[in-house]
Symmetry: C2
Subunit: 520 residues, 2 copies
Amino acid sequence: MRIGSKLSAELEGRSIIGESRGAAGDKTFKAIDPRDGSEIGPVFYSALDAEVERAAELADSARREFAELSNKRRSGFLSAIAENLESVGTALVRRAALETGLPETRFEGELERTCGQIRMFAKVVSEGSWVDARIDRAIADRKPLPKPDIRSMLHPLGPVAVFCATNFPLAFSVAGGDTASAFAAGCPVIVIANKAHPGTAEIAAKAIAKAVSDMGLEEGVFSLIFSDGYAAGQSLVSNPLVKAVGFTGSRKGGRALIDIAAARPEPVPVFAEMSSINPIFLLPGAIAERGPSIAEGLHASFTLGHGQFCTKPGVVVLPEYVAAGPFILRLLELTKGSDPVPLLTRKIFEDYMEKIESREKVELERGEGFRVPVAVSTIRAREFFKHPSFADEIFGPSMLLVLVDNDDEMFDIAEGLEGQLTATIHGTDDELSQNRTLLSILATKAGRLIFNSFPTGVEVCAAMVHGGPFPATSDPGSTSVGKRALRRFARLVAYQDFPDSALPDQLKDSNPLEIKRFEE
Amino acid sequence: MRIGSKLSAELEGRSIIGESRGAAGDKTFKAIDPRDGSEIGPVFYSALDAEVERAAELADSARREFAELSNKRRSGFLSAIAENLESVGTALVRRAALETGLPETRFEGELERTCGQIRMFAKVVSEGSWVDARIDRAIADRKPLPKPDIRSMLHPLGPVAVFCATNFPLAFSVAGGDTASAFAAGCPVIVIANKAHPGTAEIAAKAIAKAVSDMGLEEGVFSLIFSDGYAAGQSLVSNPLVKAVGFTGSRKGGRALIDIAAARPEPVPVFAEMSSINPIFLLPGAIAERGPSIAEGLHASFTLGHGQFCTKPGVVVLPEYVAAGPFILRLLELTKGSDPVPLLTRKIFEDYMEKIESREKVELERGEGFRVPVAVSTIRAREFFKHPSFADEIFGPSMLLVLVDNDDEMFDIAEGLEGQLTATIHGTDDELSQNRTLLSILATKAGRLIFNSFPTGVEVCAAMVHGGPFPATSDPGSTSVGKRALRRFARLVAYQDFPDSALPDQLKDSNPLEIKRFEE
């Protein structure tokens, strides 16, 4: 039996370097329960430099074979991962709840989403058309020169480094969207576990390792690195064998990795999703029609997951001149009734307290563990413009209402936005058509525009765009959620004048995989 | 009459900042005839810093209106540019030949290619499906949560800075592929003219400016910047209003721009095409079957355009153990009969002389102007491995034959390659199927794989890939030639739960543009 073929929820605390386990080195850390700040066992061992290098070498060795795996086998590999995750589902959910202070029900949903998205990619791979195959046939008698036969399609980029997100221990972590889409595209993956939920990482990683082993794939297809600090991740991103990076996290962390990847002798793409305040614009008609109901939706949205969603609405712009009373009253009522909630890590907790205290000029009461109060505040637009930092993301259950005197102030706020994952408008249909300018500005700012709904809850589907201009992401041309996500980890390759037998199946005359192709 | 509506080949030597002309500042330069090194009139004035900034501001102002132009109008704009270029074709061809030392016939072909590719993009735009529209319809009664309506498509990125290539004054310069594809995607363009052919740039720029003016588009849709040095280009790439960069040129120049763009507060993508030695692997059967004819094709390919094509084959790998005699004899015969040819600039000329002299350990004879001799040399693989610089691109009519003792040496050379635009194999069909390893390695290295043909001559068609891993380009996921090229200048935007009337036409239920869409 190969290592990895045994699936258990027992934690060893060691990195998973292909088929091997990391050494029990000097640097260790433990997970922390955010509800009371206490340590949770077992000990996790930071990977040694040589282990990080070894993971990259193994991934490079596995690169070609994994790239050339049949669609059926690759799809089967993804399905096996989803099955393995489900078979350790109870342990995963329990450990994720323990390491995050979030309820188990949340992780039941997140596990379903995680497996759902892996299976979506399995389907995309098995269907096969995602490779964007295009065929231009030769025209031998074209003048002045014969036209060659040109066919092209997407190939995998090579080994991908994936960084786990603090706020999604399942859906954007070890077996999350980046890993699933990189595997789907045909790339080996090396995951850097998140210090906040290493146990969850280990359980998920073993589910993947078992699929690798059971299917007889090369061990380098997958590795998991534990690390107490940033060094392992930075060294992995610097490694010349790594060809792309997926990251979901803070602006500072993302930027650091982007800078490292850009400074390499061979720069490589970093698909980083970093920071977004997901502004909501409330138009008068909507507030008048359904103020209290908007307040309820908004409250649910900005407190979801304790306000630690990348799509959490952080700023709501509304006109002062309308009867916003019922909306504001209902919002304050809901907020007042909110209990303090634990944030994911000490760092996130401290950032939240510092930013809210500085913005509100108050001293907040400290709760147990990493608990913070829900915070809603109101400001006039002219004050908002004076404090650029008010437009920075605050991770946690806070929200800022910005009151505008007129449309121009509203447009100015929209124009002044940095890149966003989402931007939302609440209004009547008539208001929306009368506000083409607002919509037109927001379309240049955000990856997803939402009407009369809320930005949290990112549907996993073909058309979804979870992306946006910097700092929302580092590549507005791509999305990290939805069927298009695997495109990030692929590159174009053309074949000129090849005999049919030497072409990949996707480009053969007979189209044996029966994929959709573009032919001139 | 607006400025720009008059089309003339008379050169003014001033930058074109929307509807205005640049000032006659202190810094000036002239074009140079590479055949004798003499200056050609008129004087060209370097743009002032304020003019570069003004061009970016105008482009930003024009951004939204140009993005929202109908497909019909945008397609008409592109067609008008092609027509205008043709109407000044004689002047363009004559000036390009004068500024490059290349024959006029070459530019007759290049002009045809340039207009052909603009018209190809006009068709892509008018057909409209390139926006990758995807529709996921709402499912109101889905459990546990209703499914929202999600629709998405590509939107333009915003103002694009385009750098003209030294070696293609028409097809990769002012009205070349980057500009045409950026316009097609809906982005305003600011072009940095190449010092080597400013007159050609001005004539082409006026053809574009006239189309902008005739169609009543905002002036900021297009500007042209003349600059004696690198400052204007660097300042443009640093400008926060510029959202993407297209570059074709040297590895050093490309890398400098990539680094500037990556260091911005908001990093932006640079689509740089830089450096490639386009290796050719000759297998024994092919040499035995048609050695002399391969030599002829190879000679034509590496001397085309005086060896200044980005797809020039710089290294040819062949087995020593076969009867390569007839191939080598024919190649040397052709080379010996070659006259010295002028290279495009003093810098390219000096680089060529220095690199060849250092590689060959000889002193080459200097010809008139920027003329250089055709240089073919032969080396054993083990010597090649000792000199990493031998795998660097040399711009100009040189070629290195590398003799390998066995397949392993051939694989080692392939594995050691940096990213390439192309890689070519000559062999019999049987040899190709027996050499899966070579093909499999090369598929990880190059953007285009060629069988029994030569890499120069990049067909403009739907399936073409003119791209490849670094340093061939900075983004192996993209291509700068072919229908996919406009994808570089676009980003994804999703619309959630929008009323049909507020959606872009591409996403409306009735599909009024009748484009191909992906619907689940």
